[in-house]
Assembly symmetry: C2
Homo-oligomer: 321 residues x 2
């Protein structure tokens, strides 16, 4: 336990009915009048609260004073909102961000870079598996990477990205155990267990990147590759692209193929499907373990993006070997 606490920078609260308190410089989690966890505040970067967990005003005030963003999710993992300290006033970064947004050339360049990295990371992942029917998919993906070079509009880059994604998920479905019946990526709401896990994982990493970008002072709604739409955190989604496969997809293959999460861990509700509470904890534990190896890398990418936006430096994406 001690080690886990030392390494971690995100505190996940999932224990339904527990209360988050404050004592001196520590956060204390209490359930049925018993302390179940105690963490010094300086070890925490952010707090994620799932479902019915109380939080004392002293703790709340302490969290705000410590500059920590605390996000609230439904017990199903749906992001509901967050508690934020007087917001990052790095308004100069946002001014630069808007300037870059208006600069079509900048947008095209960074979009190519992001999609290049995304496809690269998908290929590296598929190459770990020796399925013969991948060869064709990998070849196609490589062609797509090659085709990116000549593109000079966002929509043509988006076309390549869309084509690659459907190819890639065909590959992913061949890796996943059959009984999970994953055919293609579907969401809002997810219709099969694999899609439900993907959606949950993507929601976590998007929130992670959203908070980080907000904290630095970006407007997370103004992206360069993703189109602007009401309520879509486009900039977070731009950065997410590089990390979907290495962080989320890889983990989900492990969870499914090693039977850590099984078909009976899911509950169907009307038109959609959810994880039960025990499996959700297993999911979050695996996610936290996995993200720990990437959190520093993600931070570096967000700062590279800042550098690129402020100083017009070329954005170097995260590429898996």
């Amino acid at each position: 336990m001690g080690n886990r606490v030392i390494k971690m920078s995100t505190l996940y609260l999932t224990e339904q009915g527990s209360i988050l308190h404050k004592t001196q410089r520590r956060l204390v989690i209490i359930k049925n009048k018993k302390i179940i966890q105690e963490i010094p505040i300086f070890k925490i970067d952010r707090i994620l609260i799932f479902g019915n967990i109380q939080i004392s005003t002293q703790a709340l005030s302490f969290i705000l004073d410590s500059g920590i963003i605390c996000s609230f999710f439904s017990s199903q993992g749906k992001f509901k909102g967050s508690l934020r300290p007087v917001e990052s006033g790095n308004v100069f970064l946002r001014i630069a961000q808007y300037e870059r947004y208006l600069d079509k050339e900048f947008r095209v360049e960074i979009s190519k870079t992001i999609v290049y990295a995304k496809i690269n990371n998908e290929i590296k992942f598929l190459e770990n598996y020796s399925k013969t029917n991948f060869k064709e998919i990998i070849e196609e993906l490589k062609k797509n990477i090659n085709n990116l070079k000549d593109k000079n509009s966002i929509s043509s880059i988006m076309g390549i990205e869309g084509h690659s994604t459907s190819l890639y998920f065909k590959g992913l479905s061949l890796i996943l155990k059959n009984k999970f019946l994953f055919e293609k990526r579907e969401y809002h709401p997810p219709k099969d267990p694999a899609n439900a896990l993907l959606s949950f994982g993507y929601s976590l990493i998007t929130n992670e990147i959203f908070s980080l970008l907000s904290g630095i002072g970006f407007d997370p709604y103004i992206g360069f590759f993703h189109e602007l739409t009401y309520n879509r955190p486009s900039l977070a989604l731009d950065i997410v692209e590089e990390f979907r496969t290495p962080v989320v997809d890889k983990m989900i293959v492990t969870l499914i193929n090693k039977n850590i999460i099984k078909e009976e861990d899911f509950q169907r509700e009307e038109n959609s499907i959810y994880l039960n509470n025990i499996a959700k904890k297993a999911f979050l534990t695996h996610y936290e373990k996995r993200i720990q190896n990437y959190r520093e890398i993600i931070k570096v990418q967000c700062h590279k993006l800042m550098d690129s936006v402020l100083n017009k430096k070329i954005y170097e994406p995260y590429l898996e070997d």
Copy 2:
């Protein structure tokens, strides 16, 4: 009580040690296991919490789901942060806001308008009093309004604004009872009771406008008249200018001159001065009464600003008769 609840759109929680709960579609405030207030959620636009008040997760989740911004203040009235629903994603407004920010002509025009309204509202206020020594001040203020016309830089407009403000506060000090020893506007921290009341009032109205602008989808840190600085909500401060005198200053004259708040209601602490709890409640009650007459007007101004930013329409300021 009933009437007060029906009219109000802001819920102030100041009762130390109370708890905010939820039952069905209502928020319930409980202290010592007794219900002290019950309000249907649809009557609330925003919630302001001062000091040590608990909030249950069900209430918190309910507030987020209802799209209500909940702001936290220290018991002294210092803004600490806020709980926000998945933020207003009106990213198109922010794009336009940024374009207007780069448009120097737009900035100069709107700054003149804002300062014109501010001085106008100061004059209208002073004219209610028949002090002979005002004549000169009012004449000077009118000259300043006149001088605004030819200005074509923000810094020259700022010069006029600064000069007017010091003139105006000289007038205000003549209206206020002497024992409050108000000479000039001072803050960070305020050094005399009148300045403490002004700071508290300005902090409330700034937060009110900040939330409104955020909610509409503005970036409240990018203003047109106020200079950009880290952590300064410049756009909120732009709009505040029109309302300082009618909302806050007028109220403070009433509170002081009618002896509603007296010198003994203040506590000195090191280098600064604070209101005690009872006087703070009186202050908030008066503020709420006063702001109710202006809340609609402030909303209209924020929407006029949106219209001006999106459609380049001329911004019409709020002018007191």
